[in-house]
């Protein structure tokens, strides 16, 4: 059946059929079929973890598919190593261009070719004339803007006679004018007969430049076809889990906000990666902060936590101005941040469990003035291990040997040991199993009961729906919608995260 399908797509430049891939027990791609023809721009849309980057790595030959075939211009290719796809005319422009910063534009483009430089320069000039694009080829790559770097990457692809260009979220770091000129270039490439796979997170762009669209979710294509056959709302629906309507919010009582003073407040808070953020979190409240990875939520949290400069605005903790304080002072004031990447930012993997839980207390005097009081350390640690059901062999077990879920419980447990007023959790359940997830939710509810204000940053819309008392959606660094508990739906959050609507329920 698959063979007949490809036979009928003889005109297509690129076809992948039945691609599957799993890493261990985790099945990332579950049978993907996509194809791009001449003069087509296929917009590939998907949330975080949908499997887009895995698919691209398979197309570029960096990963091997478990099953499935890839055809370029009707010819089956065995992309067993990175060079093969390249030589067959597929070129991927990575999200962050991989240039040689200390070399000139020209050197960057002709590096790796075997012809004579003079000949290459002539060909480069011809290509630049053809797509009508002008840039000083003697400029150093480090002086180029991201948009110009992308164009250098596109030229690299064209010099390799690429017939299919993959653009991976090309607009995520471009200004509005640059986006306009990129779209113009995509249009010119299209006229040249080049097929383009355009990966994006912005639904609004799709209707501007794509001819076809495919939506990926959890390793499958949920929807594909000509762009003219779809509306925005249909695309949003394709991004949502099928059983989404069935997920029920936990029926907890809505908080009575009357007479309540916010524990934490951001007023016109702006910094690098986020802009003009206004939000309030009340004691005992979980505020969901939805959005996509790269929307600026982590940057906001890190800036609150004193890791980067605030540009303008204020952060208030129980009415006290904590803007621009050092991380040490912020911790002392009662704000705790549990990072997204536990291994990189959060956990001392070669220390034992007890030391990890109590590490945020080491700077205080609870655990002894000069020497660490082992007895106190173990007592505090034991309390958290039992309370949070951390599965360990003993308090002296090294934290690096624990599972992701248990590591996460330790990192959250550690933040609680300081008795905070506000806890910022950044993707607390990413990459951990269902049982551990339930335990982590239990811990979050426990925090809530203790009257701690919780900022829950999550790209898992289901998680936001299940836990939040209120929610905001961040899109391109700005708050796009604020929702009361009964207004929070996965569809609304998803649409707003992709830049559609204000986060309230959209009609599907």
């Amino acid at each position: 059946m698959k063979l007949s399908e490809t036979a009928s797509q003889g005109h297509s430049l690129f076809t992948a059929t039945g691609i599957t891939k799993s890493f261990g027990l985790n099945s990332v791609l579950k049978g993907i079929d996509i194809s791009v023809g001449e003069r087509e721009v296929l917009a590939l849309i998907g949330g975080n973890g949908a499997g887009k980057s895995t698919l691209m790595k398979i197309i570029m030959g960096i990963y091997q598919p478990d099953e499935g075939r890839i055809f370029v211009a009707g010819e089956r290719i065995h992309a067993c190593k990175p060079g093969v796809s390249l030589s067959k005319g597929i070129y991927m422009v990575p999200q962050e261009p991989m240039l040689f910063p200390n070399m000139t534009v020209e050197e960057n483009i002709i590096m790796g070719f075997h012809e004579k430089p003079a000949k290459l320069r002539k060909r480069l000039k011809e290509i630049m004339n053809e797509i009508n694009w002008d840039l000083d080829i003697f400029r150093k790559a480090m002086s180029l803007s991201i948009a110009e770097q992308q164009l250098v990457e596109i030229l690299r692809g064209l010099m390799r006679q690429a017939r299919v260009l993959i653009l991976d979220e090309p607009t995520s770091a471009l200004t509005f004018d640059e986006v306009e000129s990129l779209f113009k270039i995509v249009g010119d490439l299209k006229k040249k007969g080049i097929g383009i796979i355009y990966i994006t997170h912005r639904l609004t762009e799709v209707f501007q430049i794509a001819t076809h669209v495919a939506i990926m979710r959890d390793g499958v294509i949920t929807l594909k076809g000509k762009i003219s056959e779809f509306t925005r709302d249909m695309l949003v629906k394709g991004l949502l889990p099928q059983d989404c309507e069935e997920t029920k919010k936990q029926e907890t009582n809505e908080i009575d906000y009357i007479g309540l003073k916010p524990a934490f407040e951001l007023i016109h808070f702006s910094g690098y990666g986020f802009w003009d953020i206004n939000l309030k979190i009340y004691p005992g409240e979980i505020l969901g902060v939805a959005g996509l990875v790269g929307a600026g939520r982590t940057e906001m949290a890190l800036t609150v936590f004193g890791r980067d400069k605030t540009i303008s605005g204020q952060a208030l903790l129980e009415g006290m101005d904590v803007t621009g304080l050092s991380t040490r002072a912020i911790l002392k004031a009662g704000i705790n941040y549990v990072p997204e990447d536990r291994r990189l930012n959060g956990l001392f993997t070669i220390s034992d469990v007890a030391a990890n839980i109590t590490s945020s207390l080491v700077t205080g005097k609870t655990m002894g003035r000069i020497f660490i009081n082992k007895k106190v350390e173990y007592e505090i640690a034991r309390r958290y291990v039992e309370g949070f059901r951390i599965r360990i062999t003993g308090l002296d077990q090294l934290s690096g040997s624990l599972s992701g879920g248990n590591q996460q419980k330790i990192v959250i447990g550690r933040s609680l040991a300081t008795g905070p007023k506000l806890v910022i959790l950044d993707e607390p359940t990413r990459g951990i199993d269902a049982a551990a997830r339930k335990d982590v939710y239990g811990i979050i509810h426990k925090l809530k009961k203790q009257g701690v204000a919780v900022m829950l940053i999550s790209s898992d819309m289901e998680e936001i729906v299940e836990l939040s008392d209120r929610a905001v959606v961040v899109y391109r660094g700005r708050i796009r919608g604020e929702l009361k508990k009964r207004e929070i739906t996965q569809a609304g959050l998803m649409a707003a995260s992709f830049g559609v609507g204000e986060g309230k329920q959209v009609e599907i």
Partner: protein
């Protein structure tokens, strides 16, 4: 454009010229042509060492075993000479030693992925130990006169054959690195290793090759050292790695790789090896030599790194700002 590329070398050269000028102001006898030319002649060992390690530094790695490699290859070559073998055989044996150690370094760094500072530090210890075993802790002495006199033979009125050879080798290496397709691979790997792999450059092979070249250059430096000094102690070349690295940095190479040239490294070598001579002319003890070398190295590296960190942070902030920029608000 070419000017921009060469700025770093020219800066180093101006630094050297300024240094000579300043020292001459204080002690005019330094301004004699013979003295200045001898600064160049005497830098020959460091010119070879610095040019060798420049290959490694350009690819973004480091090699702290070159002092020991210099010592071992000098000991091996000198022993053969003492025992009556010819100069060619001794040179060949020395180069073989350098190439083997370089190959080991290259495999450890490029294939086994061990941080280059740690791996070459270990190799440095091993090689230094081998020198003691090989020489049984004794000096290698009584080298044939025709070998030791070689270092005094003059190419022109004042310039030695050795320095002439060093300049020739540096020029050839410089042209290969900056003008040939494969030569540019070294800089490309140091500039962006992952990007180099993506355009089909065999980054691992280039790194191994750079270590082998570094080893060979160090062993040639070892033979020249043997000829100039006339005897080899087990500590020969001790601490030379710091001076060679400092010479590269003074010559405009970036320790993060991808920036600089062999010409720059060789100018840096002249500056480095002149420091002890300059100290004497200024009436100081040459005991300050190492302190000044280390201080110069630290100063330049600290300035370079802070500038680089600043740029990285600025670029990151710019990208983040663009992400949140709005122009009349996007229509939803």
């Amino acid at each position: 454009m070419r000017k921009i590329l060469k700025t770093r070398e020219i800066n180093s050269f101006l630094f050297l010229a300024g240094l000579i000028f300043l020292v001459g102001l204080i002690n005019p006898s330094f301004w004699q042509p013979v003295t200045i030319i001898n600064c160049f002649n005497d830098s020959v060992v460091f010119t070879f060492l610095s040019a060798g390690i420049a290959f490694v530094i350009l690819t973004g790695e480091i090699d702290v075993s070159i002092g020991a490699v210099l010592g071992l290859s000098a000991a091996v070559g000198a022993t053969l000479l003492r025992d009556g073998y010819g100069i060619a055989a001794a040179l060949f044996a020395a180069i073989f030693v350098g190439a083997v150690v370089g190959m080991i370094n290259g495999i450890g760094v490029a294939v086994l992925n061990i941080p280059s500072l740690i791996f070459t530090l270990g190799v440095n210890g091993v090689v230094r130990g081998i020198i003691y075993v090989y020489t049984k802790g004794a000096w290698v002495e009584n080298l044939p006169a025709d070998f030791t006199l070689m270092s005094n033979r003059l190419l022109t009125k004042n310039v030695t054959y050795f320095y002439g050879a060093a300049v020739l080798v540096v020029i050839i290496g410089h042209i290969i690195l900056t003008r040939t397709r494969k030569g540019k691979y070294f800089v490309a790997v140091g500039d962006n290793s992952a990007g180099a792999t993506l355009v089909g450059i065999p980054a691992d092979k280039i790194k191994i090759l750079s270590y082998v070249l570094c080893g060979i250059f160090s062993s040639v430096a070892g033979m020249i050292y043997a000829s100039r000094i006339g005897f080899i102690t087990p500590t020969a070349g001790n601490g030379y790695e710091m001076k060679a690295i400092a010479a590269c940095v003074l010559g405009g190479l970036s320790l993060t790789g991808g920036v600089g040239s062999l010409a720059g490294a060789s100018i840096g070598a002249v500056i480095m090896s002149s420091i002890s001579r300059i100290l004497v002319f200024l009436g100081f003890s040459s005991d300050y030599d190492n302190t000044i070398t280390g201080f110069l190295l630290l100063t330049i590296v600290v300035i370079n790194t802070s500038a680089q960190n600043h740029t990285v942070r600025k670029n990151r902030h710019e990208i983040l700002l663009v992400r949140t920029a709005q122009k009349g608000g996007e229509k939803a």
